[in-house]
Amino acid sequence: MFSRYYGIFISRIKESFIYRFSSFVQVIASGISLFIIWYIWKAIYASAGTTSIGGFAFPEMMTYMTLSVIFNMVLATFQEHEIEREVRSGKIATYLIKPVSYPLVCFTRTIAGKTSQIFTRLIPLLIVAFFIIKISIPVSWIFLLSLGLGYLINYNLVFLTGLMTFWTKGNIWGVRLSRTVIVSIFSGSLLPLIMFPEWFVEIANMLPFIAMFHIPASIYLGSIASTDIISSLLLQGFWLILLTSFTFIVWKRAEKKMFIQGG
């Protein structure tokens, strides 16, 4: 049964190497962003008159902001647009008559895309991060597990965005862009949440977005006490189960809708 998805996985990896230009350009764009971030934070620290902002010294802040660029690269996908195209063109039907689950096909494709990006994007970015910006090494490697959970939570939102195509003609591009902005603000990837007013942090703590950046980054930096790591992971697990169940329900409805429409 897994061999079916393995085929999709391999063919997608091969396909993704066609877009070398895109990877090359992405790495440069990330490099430019990091360059700007470095100068801005240097100016912010010079203007603050203190060595610590929100409990972060300058090197820690640079580690945090660099992680934000790297984790965002890990989370980013255009799968919702592929789903949109397949629903609009009716190509989705060709998957439904095959003995595969469409949500798993989509998931396999994003994982394959990410796997190929390890070499084309992630490693170049890590080289810049560790050797040029000199970010600190992770305090706890459990951050990888936490980032994995964050990835799955984010993927649920991506898939749900794609499924919106079933109910609205609305532009998925706009929904996707709005979603990434909301995620960047509430996940702590725009700025450390500790710098925000307390009421804002309280709201953020009630939303699933902190599971996508704040938690894995805090574990990386060691700003979550090791005794609290378990509860943080449990919180991520809670959001993952909740969102996956929701996605499952929405997908079942979408399937039904397809039968009514006759594909």
């Binding site: 992405q26 801005i40 700025l191």
Partner: protein
């Protein structure tokens, strides 16, 4: 004159399209407005932690930011046709071949056929709102003359953006999927969201003269703020815009000469 008439014709068609897909237009507008929100929140939180950024107050930084957003808004709302995404699409589906048959140069056609794009109003509305708030915060007293000058600078900044879009679009003649290059473009425009004196002199040179993104926001804004590296640089904005547009149309024509249809 004929171009203007054609432009209005296209704009009319696009307005009908927008009315047909109202929800799409609203979502696009909100999405673009949202991207500005992230930057505004960034400034708001940062300035809650520091009194000023390298000697610039929140109001002054917001004025620079509002200038860029408004320039982006003008180019996106009124000249959406030259973007690397559209041109890429045109090359791929053969639309460009059809345009070659029209009695109008392709570049002119691209400049007008986008008509009006309501998504761009997301930048324009937020930009103007931020400018209003910011100029109150720093107490700029506007006169008819200074408003006129500012309008000219904004249009010039928009022309710089359009020229950059033309240069990026030219890549579509060689690379099938050229749109990722826009990521570099957007990364570069981030330089000008901040007072550029926080960057090293080499960087300032680069963003002023090599890729003149500093003329989109920083230079046009600083003359009204009355503080900055080189106040009179603001007056160069229209000159930079015209030179860049000239270069862009040359680059475009060079690319077009090398264009061979995809044949699809």
């Amino acid at each position: 004159m004929r171009l203007l008439k054609l432009y209005l014709e296209y704009a009319k068609v696009h307005m009908k399209e927008i009315l047909e897909y109202r929800l799409d237009a609203v979502i696009g507008f909100i999405a673009i407005a949202f991207t500005n929100l992230a930057s505004l929140i960034f400034f708001w939180v940062i300035f809650a932690n520091i009194p000023s950024l390298n000697g610039w107050t929140l109001g002054q930084v917001l004025f620079i930011f509002g200038t860029i957003s408004t320039a982006f808004g003008i180019s996106h709302a009124f000249v959406p046709g030259v973007s690397v995404w559209w041109v890429e699409d045109l090359v791929q589906n053969g639309g460009l071949d059809r345009m070659l048959l029209k009695p109008i140069s392709i570049l002119q056609h691209l400049l007008i056929y986008g008509g009006i794009d309501t998504d761009g109003f997301g930048d324009l509305v937020v930009g103007i709102a931020v400018l209003t708030v910011a100029s109150n915060m720093i107490g700029i007293s506007w006169t008819i003359f200074s408003l006129g000058l500012y309008a000219i600078l904004l249009v010039s900044a928009a022309l710089i953006l359009i020229s950059m879009h033309i240069i990026m679009s030219t890549l579509c003649f060689w690379v099938v999927k050229a749109h990722p290059v826009a990521d570099i473009f957007f990364a570069l425009t981030k330089f000008t969201e901040y007072p550029i004196d926080i960057f090293s002199p080499v960087t300032v040179f680069f963003i002023s003269l090599i890729v003149p993104v500093a003329f989109i926001g920083y230079y046009p804004a600083q003359i009204f703020i009355g503080q900055g590296l080189w106040l009179n640089a603001a007056y160069l904005t229209p000159v930079v815009a015209i030179i860049l547009f000239f270069i862009a149309s040359r680059v475009w024509n060079f690319g077009l000469k090398n264009y061979t249809s995809t044949g699809s």
